[in-house]
């Protein structure tokens, strides 16, 4: 995204387009990346409930992929995931490895 110059800004840093935070991709903060292991997933949607940033996609009641544009790698989903027979469906991996 091309950054604006100072003449183009709204006075007083006022945001006039509601919901425009979706344009600011914050996923680049991530140091750890969640990995979904589909065969261990029971689709309980705990990860969806606990995710603080709506980064778990859900379609037709089934868990989908992560939204890596906004996932900050906090690891809450991996912590809460009950998995299947003791095997986690979400594990955290270090970024860049």
């Amino acid at each position: 995204m091309k950054l604006k110059g100072w003449r183009e800004l709204n006075p007083g840093c006022v945001i006039t387009e509601p919901g425009n935070s979706v344009e600011i991709k914050t996923g680049s903060w991530r140091a750890f990346r969640p990995k979904w292991i589909e065969e261990n997933c029971i689709h309980c949607l705990f990860c969806w409930i606990y995710c603080p940033d709506m980064s778990i996609k859900v379609k037709d009641g089934k868990r989908g992929e992560f939204d890596m544009d906004f996932c900050k790698g906090c690891g809450i989903c991996a912590l809460e995931c009950p998995g299947k027979k003791g095997n986690k469906a979400i594990v955290m991996e270090e970024e860049g490895k």
């Binding site: 950054l3 800004l9 007083g12 840093c13 006022v14």
Partner: protein, 393 residues
């Protein structure tokens, strides 16, 4: 037509606020501002204004409520002094950063410690770089006139910045003077209807105030603030011109008193300028070419205009009713020196600190400063660039 009255500075400013009739006022009492807001809130409780008065538990909350009300889309006023200004200082910066045109009379008072309730300029000087406009007032008339003009300046669509109107605690706030009030309709026509810009209460056009701005945009917002400050002088002069039409009283960015053909001059803010002018007259009667410059627009400081007005002088003494500890010189002197630095040939500048904590500024002190200037011009030597006057050794 207006009427001639005998009132205190606080009473005059409260009357200006009544005539402007703002939407919201959030304030907390502090000497010597208390009497101003007591008068204004009694207007509100007696139905003389439509203002929603919010009584808060501190100045920090007062300015916070003002920020909320101004962002919501209201014409907002508050007033404070000394510790109150310092307590709200965090939110003072937020009000200017959000470009909210709040008007705030500052009844200048010394700051603690040691605790002192009397008039000096340490409070407003501590907030001079907070991104607000500052208008300073010599007497009750100027405080009244500046308060009315402050709304027009702050709310101007090219500006949208908050504004302080400074008047000296007790010396002006509590002394009775003859002043001329404008009539109510003249004032309300002069300030006009409040125009909102991105009001929070316009739910058809939802907006957010106060987002996090990090390394990618913070400097651009600061540059934009610097730019808007550079437009203030022009608007101050336009508003002054309009004010002259309704009041017959002329205002500029500063007052130049017998300055044009002067060889030496005093630079002084607020009430001490009145005393100094009498002494200037006495020196003029003796044939000595002395003058005075009294800044009115202190922020943004009109460096070029003041520099042009002073550059022809041989020597200038800046009288400061505050010290800028560690900066070596008083705050006004720092600005005057900066204004003159651009000229290859410039007057000698010296600084005298007077009247701290409300100590009387006497004619003898102005005489002392002028005689020091005369001696400096004669010998070409400066005895001392900065000294405290009216202080016991």
């Amino acid at each position: 037509m207006g009427k001639v009255v005998a009132v205190t500075g606080n009473e005059a400013v409260a009357e200006a606020l009544r005539q402007v009739n703002p939407d919201v006022c959030a304030a907390y009492p502090i000497t010597p501002q208390t009497d101003l807001m007591q008068r204004f809130t009694s207007f509100a409780s007696n139905g003389k204004v439509k203002t929603e008065v919010i009584l808060v538990e501190s100045e920090h909350s007062a300015m916070s409520a003002c920020v909320g009300a101004a962002a919501a889309g209201g014409r907002v006023v508050t007033a404070t002094s000394s510790q109150g200004l310092l307590l709200m200082l965090e939110i003072v910066f937020i009000a200017s950063g959000m470009r909210l045109p709040i008007v705030m009379p500052i009844v200048n008072r010394a700051v603690s410690a040691p605790i002192n309730i009397h008039g000096d300029h340490s409070d407003a000087m501590a907030a001079r770089d907070a991104g607000w406009i500052q208008l300073w007032s010599e007497n009750a008339q100027e405080a009244y006139d500046n308060a009315i003009q402050a709304f027009r300046i702050a709310e101007h669509l090219d500006i949208r910045l908050p504004a302080m109107v400074c008047l000296d605690g007790f010396i002006i706030s509590h002394s009775i003077e003859r002043i001329e009030y404008l009539d109510d309709k003249t004032v309300s026509d002069f300030v006009g209807d409040f125009k909102t810009v991105n009001p929070l209460l316009d739910t058809d056009h939802p907006v957010s105030y106060g987002p996090l701005i990090l390394t990618d945009y913070y400097m651009e917002y600061r540059k934009a603030h610097d730019e808007v400050m550079s437009r203030v002088s022009k608007v101050v002069l336009e508003v002054a011109e309009d004010f002259h039409k309704v009041s017959g009283r002329r205002y500029g960015l500063f007052e130049a008193y017998r300055l044009e053909d002067a060889e030496i001059a005093l630079v002084v803010l607020n009430s001490a300028a009145g005393t100094s002018k009498d002494v200037i007259d006495a020196f003029r009667d003796k044939g000595i070419k002395v003058g005075l410059l009294k800044p009115r627009l202190m922020r943004p400081f009109p460096y070029n205009e003041i520099g042009e007005a002073l550059k022809h002088l041989k020597a200038v003494c800046v009288l400061d009713r505050a010290d800028a500890f560690g900066g070596s010189l008083g705050p006004l002197c720092i600005d005057i020196m900066s204004a003159l630095y651009q000229y290859k040939e410039r007057p000698i500048v010296m600084n005298k600190i007077y009247g701290l904590g409300g100590r009387d500024f006497m004619p003898s002190q102005a005489e002392y400063a002028l005689n020091d200037l005369l001696e400096t011009v004669k010998t070409g030597k400066v005895k001392t660039f900065k000294e405290y006057i009216g202080v016991r050794e």
